[in-house]
Every structure is written in structure tokens, then in C-alpha cells.
């Protein structure tokens, strides 16, 4: 009798508990505390984005088609932390008329330099506002294919597909079988490499003039931003810290963004190569001037209230700032936009803006959903998660374009 009573009671208790769990799961997550007011930036973010989204530099001044395009294929191997450079050349029979990019950064460059009607399809990440500065425009234009939807790519009959190191071998093999030429682009981790890739893309699609104009604009806007920055006695030391305690190092986009605004990436300074996880104790030891965290992650509040990190100078001086992850992932001309926003966080703060500053915080106005890490980390994660082997340095051939020759060297 007692046994039946216990089990019956237990059974009833279980049902009630499951009901409670169900109700708890249905409750919405609380919104992030929006305690950061929009900051000031050296340049107006919205206008800067518009300027970087469309450039026209006159007619192409390249040689006639068919053409052979020599280039340096620079790839970063995160396993060995080495860069590998190979001198190659690409043979193109004619100007590509239907171009597809397999990566967000390349899409953003194409959007600026290539006549839009020649972009045949867009990767869905390029239509995702968490990753792309042009999400709205791309969603409105379409068509959009998912990363693994090779058939949709084949369906638009492109005559040139831009792939990157995390594009899967299967994807490339299907392109090869369909005799669609694809070009493997290399490293995009610094503004210099982005400028190089922009010019290369320009030559590949026969829009050298536009590409040169975009590079000129990148340099001009970077100089404008730098010209408006105050001159601190020493470069400010910035640390980007994500929800998992990871900090970007030497080869990350963050280092390049910091350099663009005369700041130092503390991760790089402390010898972090790609990305590394550090604990609060180490963060306190490194003691940055400013800590940047992914916006809306709740990490800012957690850092401020943490009993160890609360002793850090940045926390004591109220210099823990949020920035949407999209700015930290930028690996296109929009890295200038990232530099503009970061300059706002570092030099503008929440108070009076330095003289001559015309912008307002694009990031905080947009309320873009944040996320830590960079495009490079994202690629690495995707690569590991999908067990997609790298194809760095493989000679690519097929369709109209062919890679010729190679002269490899490795540099640490």
C-alpha cells in the first residue's frame, strides 16, 4: 500500500514538474539592458557605409580578353600559424558576366565594384544582418543560396564563382564537374590584404577601375578617420573579450582594425596568435585601457559585476564597451566602418566628441545583433564543425579559368 502511495505521488509530482518546465521554457528571454547611449564616431557611419557600397572608377583599363592574371595566393594555416604564399596565374578566356561569391566579404566587395546585374546569386550569409552590412539590399535583390546548396549555384549558370578556404571540397568538385570556373581567394585578415584582394577581384571580373577606386576610397576614409583622432600620449591598449573568454590575436581582423585607429590589440601584444581563451585573472594582468565585448551578450554587465575583473582599470574607469559582432567580422571594405565605430568607442566615449567629429554611432543605432569573434574565427569554427578539409594551395582548374604555375614559400 505504501509502495503504491509513493509511486502514485511520484508520478503526480513528475507530471506537475514537467508542466512547470514546459511553462518556464515558453517564457521569453529577457531583453538585454540597453544602457549604452549611441556614441560619436569620427565619420558618419551611415554615410560611410553608403560610400563604400558603390564605387565607379571609370572604364576598365586592363588588357583585352582573354587574359592571364598573375597573383599571389596568400593563405593562413591556423594549425601551424604560418602564412603560405604562392605565385600563381589565372587564365580567363572572357570577362565573367555571371559572378557568384561564396563568402560575405567577397560579396560586399563585388557589390561595390561589380555592376549588380552581373552578380548572379548571393550566399545566404550575405543576406544575414548578423554577418553582412548589405543584408537588406541583398535580400531585396536575390536570388539567395545556402552554403551547401550547390545545385542552386549551378542553376544560375555562373561563369565565375569566388570560393574561399572554407568552401567545401564537395562544392568545388561539383563546380569542377559542371565546368564552372572557380577562383580560390586567399587571406582577408588585414586591411592591406583586403585591398590586395579587391584589386585582384577587379582584374578577374574586368572592373579594375572600380576596384582601384574602392582601394583609393578605403585609403582616403582611413586617413580621414586617423586625421580626426586625438593624439594620446601613448596608443590605447584594447582587448576584445567574448562570451567564452576568447581574445583575438596577431592574425585576427581585430589587430588590423586597431592599427587603423592607432590602437594596440592587447591580445596581439601578449603573444596570442589566432584566438586564445584567457581567464579573468589573465585579463586583469593584461589590464587593457578599454575592453570591447559583443553587444547584447550581457557580458558587459557580467564583467563589471565580476569581483575579479572589477579591479581592472578599464572597469574602474567605465571603459567596457559593446560592439556588434558584425563590425569585428568585417573582412571587406567595411573594415573601415569597423575602424570608425571602434574609434568612436575608444576616443569618443559617451561624452563630448573630439573636435571635427561628424558621425554618430551607427552600430548602436542599428541595434544589430552581436556576436564575438571575427570572420576568420567563424570560418575556422565552420571548418572544424563540418570537418571540411582545407584545400589550400591546390592548383585549381576547370571551365574558362585555369590556375597556372606556382612558386611556393612559407613564412612564419
Amino acid at each position: 500500500m505504501m509502495r503504491i502511495g509513493f509511486c502514485g505521488y511520484l508520478s503526480s509530482l513528475c507530471r506537475r514538474f514537467l508542466l512547470c518546465v514546459g511553462l518556464v521554457c515558453l517564457l521569453p528571454c529577457p531583453a538585454a539592458a540597453g544602457d549604452e547611449r549611441p556614441g560619436r564616431t569620427p565619420l558618419d557611419g551611415r554615410r560611410l557605409k553608403e560610400e563604400l557600397s558603390l564605387v565607379r572608377g571609370g572604364t576598365a583599363d586592363g588588357e583585352e580578353w582573354p587574359r592571364t592574371i598573375p597573383y599571389v595566393d596568400k593563405q593562413y594555416d591556423f594549425r601551424t600559424d604560418t602564412f603560405r604564399e604562392e605565385h600563381k596565374s589565372w587564365f580567363a578566356r572572357g570577362q565573367p558576366r555571371r559572378v557568384v561569391a561564396h563568402a560575405v566579404g567577397v560579396t560586399e566587395i563585388l557589390w561595390a565594384v561589380c555592376p549588380r546585374e552581373r552578380i548572379a546569386a548571393f550566399n545566404d550569409l550575405a543576406a544575414n544582418p548578423k554577418f553582412s552590412f548589405l543584408a537588406d539590399e541583398i535580400r531585396a535583390r536575390g536570388p539567395i543560396f545556402r552554403t551547401q546548396e550547390t545545385e542552386r549555384v549551378l542553376g544560375v549558370q555562373p561563369d565565375l564563382v569566388f570560393t574561399v578556404f572554407y568552401s567545401s571540397l564537395d562544392f568545388k568538385e561539383k563546380l569542377r564537374q559542371a565546368k564552372i570556373p572557380f577562383f580560390d581567394l586567399g587571406y582577408f585578415g588585414t586591411i592591406e590584404s583586403i585591398k590586395y584582394q579587391t584589386q585582384l577581384i577587379g582584374r578577374l571580373i574586368g572592373e579594375e577601375g572600380n576596384a582601384a577606386e574602392l582601394v583609393r576610397l578605403i585609403e582616403q576614409k582611413t586617413a580621414e578617420i586617423r586625421g580626426k583622432l586625438p593624439l594620446p600620449p601613448r596608443p590605447p591598449r584594447l582587448l576584445y573579450y567574448d562570451e567564452n573568454g576568447y581574445v583575438p590575436g596577431k592574425t585576427s581582423n581585430f589587430t588590423s582594425i586597431c592599427e587603423m585607429i592607432g590602437a594596440v590589440n592587447v591580445g596581439s601584444e601578449q603573444g596570442v596568435k589566432s584566438w586564445s581563451q584567457i581567464d579573468y585573472e589573465t585579463l586583469l594582468k593584461w589590464d587593457p585601457d578599454l575592453i570591447v565585448v559583443p553587444a547584447e551578450s550581457g557580458l558587459r554587465e557580467r564583467l563589471i559585476s565580476n569581483r575579479v575583473v572589477s579591479h581592472a582599470r578599464a572597469v574602474k574607469e567605465g571603459k567596457v564597451r559593446s560592439l556588434p559582432g558584425i563590425y569585428l567580422r568585417a573582412d571587406s571594405q567595411f573594415m573601415v566602418l569597423s575602424a570608425n565605430e571602434l574609434a568612436g568607442l575608444v576616443y569618443g566615449g559617451q561624452g563630448e566628441a573630439p573636435p571635427g567629429w561628424s558621425g554618430s554611432g551607427e552600430a548602436l543605432q542599428q541595434g544589430l545583433r552581436p556576436g564575438p569573434g571575427s570572420e576568420q574565427t567563424a570560418r575556422l569554427f565552420l571548418q572544424v564543425a563540418r570537418s571540411c578539409p582545407r584545400e589550400a594551395g591546390l592548383p585549381v582548374a576547370g571551365g574558362q579559368g585555369t590556375v597556372r604555375g606556382k612558386e611556393g614559400r612559407e613564412s612564419p
Binding site: R15, F17, L18, E281, N306, F381
Partner: protein
């Protein structure tokens, strides 16, 4: 195998010593150069035992950083090992572990869901709460499935556990697959699933300590019944043991400990399987000795694993990965060398 009280005390002393040594090492290792003497001074000062003046920053590092992490490692290891001991005893199955009835995979699903939905970023308690709730919900579901006409069937309980393990495993994989498109969430989830004790705070201690303490007290209350249950249910019934009450209570305690441990430490494998086996070979099958000793061994295992992970900071090794990497081969060796010893189970 006859195990004397002297041997038990010796084992207890050895494990307690290893735990204390591990704790001292953990407290005196980090990026700040704080030695064992200074760490001890800080702890004593914060406890009000010493009046020595301590630097507030160094004090925060030891008291609010290193000490909670060490305590969480200790409690997680202890909980998983005790939960494993209970499961192996109750199910009379040497392969049983805390996750055999789906509790840890339920906790993992709850935690992963909270990470994916962003709740974990809003509150420090969201992830542990989700993990504990899901583990208890799993437990409730398993009991609901296995209970009919007022009786709980052990084989059905195990089968339901296996089925729920599969379902929750698939759902977790589904969330991981979705999160590969949300790179940041994906990375956080994968790290959590590998078991991570980085930056654990007093709040985490506050979560895992009550679950460990209460469930341990409850377990010790039923530990004699567990011994009798291992002989056989008929014998237990003849000796006046309320089988269903004792067995179900023990399973609930094991589930609570597992849920608490997974909630604060992520998925840390093999501790719940390995520690009871090792200790059973040394201290014998009497659960009155085995439960606390296996718990201590689990604590030692996780403390040293975490210390090792901290030493190899550049490698980004996770504590759950390390315990499985060490535990798996060690367990195989143990099985091969002591095949006959396991037969008494």
C-alpha cells in the same frame, strides 16, 4: 576481497591529502605570481582567521577567482563519482554511469538550448538553471514512462533512459547543426559540451554545493539499503527494505548530483564510470565506504585534470576532453587487468 578499516582510513587519508595538495596547487597557479603561502594567507584572512593585511587585487584573484574554480572542480568530481557509484549499485551494472538514465544528456540539452536561445548570456544562473530543470524533467519523464500500476520497472527505466539519451543527443546535435550558422553561439556550445571550468565563481559554487551536499546526505541515509539491494531484491525484501522507495530515492539523488555537476561544469566524461570502479577495486564493494571514497577520487581526478588544463593554457584543452582522454584508456587497462574482480557485481 576483505577490506580492513585501516585500509579504508589509509585510502581516505591519501585521497584527502591528494585533494588538499591539488587545492593548494590550484590556488597557487595562475597568470599572477601568487605562491602557496600567500594564497593560504589570503584565504585565512578572508575567513577571518588571520589578521594579515592582504592586497585587495591579489585577494580577489585568489578568493574570487581561483578558490571558487577549485571548489567547483572538487564538487563536480565528487558529484559525478558518487552518482556513478549509485547508478552502478542500483542497476547492478558495472557499465552504468550518471548518464545511463538520460539525466546528463537532458541537462546538456537544457544548457545547449539556453546557450543557443541567448538566455545564458543574460544571466549567470540561466544556463545552470536550464540544465538542472532539464535534468529533473528527464528524471520525471523516465519515471513516468517506467511507472505503471504503482510500480517502477527497472528494465523499463533503463530502456527509457537509453531512448531519451538518443532523443536528447539528437536534439543537441540538431541545435549544434543550427548553431554552425550562428558561429558565436556554436563556438560557445561546443566549448561547453567539452566540459569547461574556466572562470567559475562563487555563484557556481552556490549552485553545485547544495545539490552535492543534500544528495550526498540522502544517499548516505540509504547506503545500507543500497548494499542490500546489490545482493538481490528478494533478499532485500526479506530483510525489510522498501525496495521501490530506496531505489527510486537513490536514483533521484544521483540525478540531482549529475544535474548540478553538468550545470556548472558542462559534460565531463568518465569520472562517474571510472572513479567507482577504481575505488571498488581498492576499497571493496561496501557502499558505506565506497560512496565517500569514490567521491573523493572523483574530486581528485577533476581537480588535477583542471590544473593540467590550466598549465596547458596555450593548447586550449578542455577539462572534459582531458578526463575522457585519460579515463578511456585507463578504464580499458583496468578492465583487462581486473576482469575477475568485477565479477562480484
Amino acid at each position: 576481497m576483505k577490506v580492513t578499516s585501516g585500509r579504508t582510513y589509509l585510502l581516505a587519508l591519501l585521497l584527502a591529502g591528494l585533494t588538499a595538495l591539488g587545492a593548494v596547487l590550484a590556488l597557487s597557479h595562475g597568470s599572477w605570481d601568487i605562491g602557496p603561502a600567500e594564497a593560504a594567507e589570503i584565504v585565512l584572512a578572508r575567513l577571518g582567521i588571520s589578521t594579515a593585511a592582504v592586497d585587495p587585487v591579489r585577494s580577489a584573484i585568489v578568493w574570487d577567482g581561483r578558490l571558487p574554480r577549485t571548489l567547483v572542480a572538487l564538487l563536480v568530481g565528487f558529484s559525478l563519482a558518487v552518482a556513478g557509484t549509485i547508478m552502478q549499485g542500483v542497476f547492478k551494472n558495472p557499465m552504468a554511469s550518471p548518464d545511463v538514465i538520460g539525466v546528463s544528456s537532458g541537462a546538456a540539452l537544457g544548457a545547449v538550448a539556453s546557450l543557443y536561445l541567448g538566455a545564458a548570456g543574460q544571466s549567470l544562473f540561466a544556463l545552470p538553471l536550464a540544465a538542472v530543470l532539464f535534468s529533473l524533467a528527464t528524471l520525471a519523464a523516465v519515471f513516468l514512462i517506467a511507472t505503471g500500476r504503482g510500480r517502477t520497472s527497472v528494465p523499463t527505466l533503463l530502456l527509457a533512459g537509453i531512448a531519451l539519451n538518443l532523443i536528447f543527443g539528437a536534439l543537441t546535435s540538431f541545435i549544434i547543426a543550427m548553431s554552425t550558422r550562428e558561429f558565436d553561439a556554436g563556438r560557445v556550445i561546443v566549448t561547453w559540451l567539452m566540459g569547461d571550468l574556466n572562470d567559475r565563481s562563487w555563484e557556481h559554487v552556490l549552485i553545485v554545493f547544495p545539490t552535492t551536499a543534500l544528495a550526498l546526505l540522502g544517499t548516505m541515509f540509504f547506503v545500507k539499503d543500497l548494499n542490500i539491494l546489490m545482493i538481490g531484491e528478494d533478499t532485500a525484501a526479506n530483510l525489510g527494505v522498501n525496495i521501490a522507495w530506496a531505489r527510486n530515492s537513490l536514483i533521484v539523488f544521483a540525478a540531482i548530483m549529475t544535474g548540478g555537476a553538468v550545470a556548472v561544469g558542462g559534460v565531463i566524461g568518465f569520472v562517474g564510470l571510472l572513479a567507482p570502479h577504481m575505488m571498488r577495486a581498492l576499497a571493496g564493494p561496501d557502499n558505506r565506504r565506497l560512496v565517500p571514497l569514490a567521491g573523493l577520487l572523483g574530486a581528485v581526478f577533476v581537480i588535477y585534470a583542471d590544473l593540467f588544463v590550466r598549465l596547458l593554457v596555450q593548447v586550449d584543452l578542455k577539462v572534459g576532453v582531458l578526463t575522457s582522454m585519460l579515463g578511456g584508456p585507463f578504464f580499458l587497462v583496468l578492465i583487462i587487468r581486473h576482469r575477475k574482480r568485477f565479477e562480484y557485481l
